[in-house]
């Protein structure tokens, strides 16, 4: 099993979630995050004091998937989150040793 993590632009969340649903994903978890990367930050000014702020708001989603579904999940996120401009974000794939569904105690693939 894999944990697919993606950092995406906040306004893409709905679209990505709907596409993943379509692709057969039955669950995901999203978290509000601040990202720093190639995308240039911005300047904020408060009473004349200028601050360079490199962090931009991102959403971090993570999806637990079965190995076989992982490529689909990755390509779905890629396609829907892409706008072509810097800051579209990244996807990372991590190995998962076990998954447990709290409600039933199911383990592994069945628990996803």
């Amino acid at each position: 099993m894999k944990l697919v993590i993606a950092y995406i632009a906040p306004f893409k969340l709905d679209e990505v979630r709907d596409a993943l649903k379509e692709a057969g994903v039955t669950g995901l978890t999203a978290i509000a995050a601040q990202g720093f990367g190639r995308q240039s930050g911005h300047t904020e000014t408060y009473r004349g004091a200028e601050y360079e702020v490199d962090m931009v708001p991102k959403v971090r989603i993570e999806v637990l998937v079965d190995d076989t579904l992982a490529p689909t999940v990755i390509s779905t996120i890629e396609t829907t989150a892409r706008t072509g401009s810097i800051g579209d974000g990244k996807i990372a794939v991590l190995p998962v040793e076990d998954v447990i569904r709290i409600r039933t105690g199911e383990r592994g693939r069945d628990a996803i």
Binding site: A9, F11, D14, H42, T43, E44, T45, Y46, P57
Partner: protein, 405 residues
């Protein structure tokens, strides 16, 4: 001059000023968090820009002298420019309180009217274009219409329509302009496709509370005295707001199954809007009827923007244009002579209807032309990137919340 009347009008001036921050929060709570400051600023700036315009020429054009086409007085003159000759007496307006208080009171109305429009163009209009729009609109639309209705102009004199506290001058005027501006500006990115949720309904309810509070100055002060007519306008204002808010949440409960806090706030404002032109002309039961009509019809009117597909983002048309029309017309029927000297009748209804058509048409047409002109010259709309990222950072270089440390 009467110190009691002066005291009440001074208080009313302050109350009406507070309505603009109140409105800012009413609107500000409904936008996404990336656009809060942009929204607040579009309201607050009216307190700055309109005051300056008003002192320089606005007050003069609305309330000083009269320039006529035939018998029809269509605008004031420049006699009062800069308020240089305002003085300390009450001779200009012949009220029981000083002229400077009357000018302040009218100023507060001139401020909130364009601020109302801001709800329609939320989350996408450029700040600079908005400032230009407000300044010019105040001169080209607000001052003339105020003159027609309250400054001795032809709507009062020839048409014979009445408007207690601004159904025509404020709400229909702002609502028609909102519609025009939205048609030129176009919808927000994602309109009807994305979930665009209010970022903080508590702020919206706070705004609604401040608006309700301030409205007592708006309507109560429009009796121009601290007397039984002010008392009646105060009471009808309270009743209409309460009934409309209650009817609105009932309508929601029947339609969607759940009464909402945003619905209560929206209904209250709809009721306050509808009673505005009528507050001093009807009694408690009349205000009950107007409130009920406003709650039902404005709730229904929310769907207009989806039917006709214009992104009036915070429903200025459904609440202010529709609400203002409801009040302006119903007072033609429900007015009782004992309260404000106007008796409801089919004729009066006709006069009211004519005045509505005139104000609506004029405001819509001039606002549309103004919007087009600004669009061509300076551009009305923020860039797509700025809209996506939010107006707060893009236009104002600020963030609304930094809650993490």
């Amino acid at each position: 001059m009467d110190s009691g009347d002066t005291a009440w009008l001074l208080t009313s001036c302050a109350l009406v000023l507070l309505m603009t921050p109140g409105l800012a929060f009413f609107y500000g709570g409904m936008v996404r968090s990336k656009n809060v400051l942009g929204m607040l600023m579009k309201n607050y700036i009216a307190m700055g820009v309109v005051t300056i315009v008003w002192v320089l020429v606005g007050a003069s054009l609305a309330f000083s002298g009269s320039t006529s086409i035939g018998d029809y007085s269509v605008i004031g003159d420049f006699g009062l420019w800069g308020l240089k000759d305002l003085g300390l007496s009450n001779e200009l307006f012949g009220m029981s309180y000083p002229d400077n208080v009357h000018i302040s009171f009218q100023l507060m109305f001139a401020i909130i009217t364009p601020a109302l429009i801001a709800g329609a163009i939320a989350e996408r209009m450029k700040f600079t274009a908005w400032v230009a729009f407000v300044a010019l609109w105040s001169i080209l639309v607000y001052s003339p219409v105020a003159h027609w209705v309250w400054g001795g102009g032809f709507i009062a004199e020839q048409v014979g329509a009445v408007d207690f506290a601004g159904g025509l001058v404020v709400h229909i005027n702002a609502g028609a302009a909102a519609l025009a501006l939205v048609m030129v500006l176009g919808p927000r990115l994602g309109f009807r496709r994305e979930v665009i949720r209010p970022h903080s309904l508590p702020l919206t309810l706070l705004g609604a509370g401040l608006l309700w509070f301030g409205w007592f100055g708006f309507n109560g002060g429009s009796a121009f005295a601290a007397d039984e007519f002010a008392g009646n306008a105060f009471l009808t204002t309270q009743i209409a707001a309460a009934v409309a808010a209650t009817v609105w949440v009932l309508a929601e409960a029947f339609t969607h199954g759940k009464p909402t806090a945003l619905g209560f706030a929206s209904g209250a404002i709809a009721g306050l809007v509808a009673i505005t032109p009528a507050a001093g002309f009807v009694g408690p039961l009349g205000s009950l009827a107007i409130g009920a009509a406003a709650g039902l019809i404005c709730f229904w009117a929310l769907r207009l923007k989806f039917m006709l597909n214009f992104d009036d983002s915070l429903d200025v048309v459904a609440v202010h244009l529709v609400g203002g029309i409801i009040g302006a017309l119903l007072l033609g029927l429900l007015a009782e002579e004992a309260y404000g000297g106007v008796a409801g009748s089919v004729e009066q209804l006709g006069r009211q209807a004519l005045s509505v058509v005139i104000a609506l048409t004029y405001s819509f047409a001039v606002s549309w032309l103004l919007a087009k002109a600004l669009d061509v010259t300076m551009g009305l709309r923020a860039s797509e990137v700025d809209e996506r990222g939010g107006l707060d950072l893009a236009l104002h270089g600020e963030q609304s919340y930094a809650l993490s440390e």
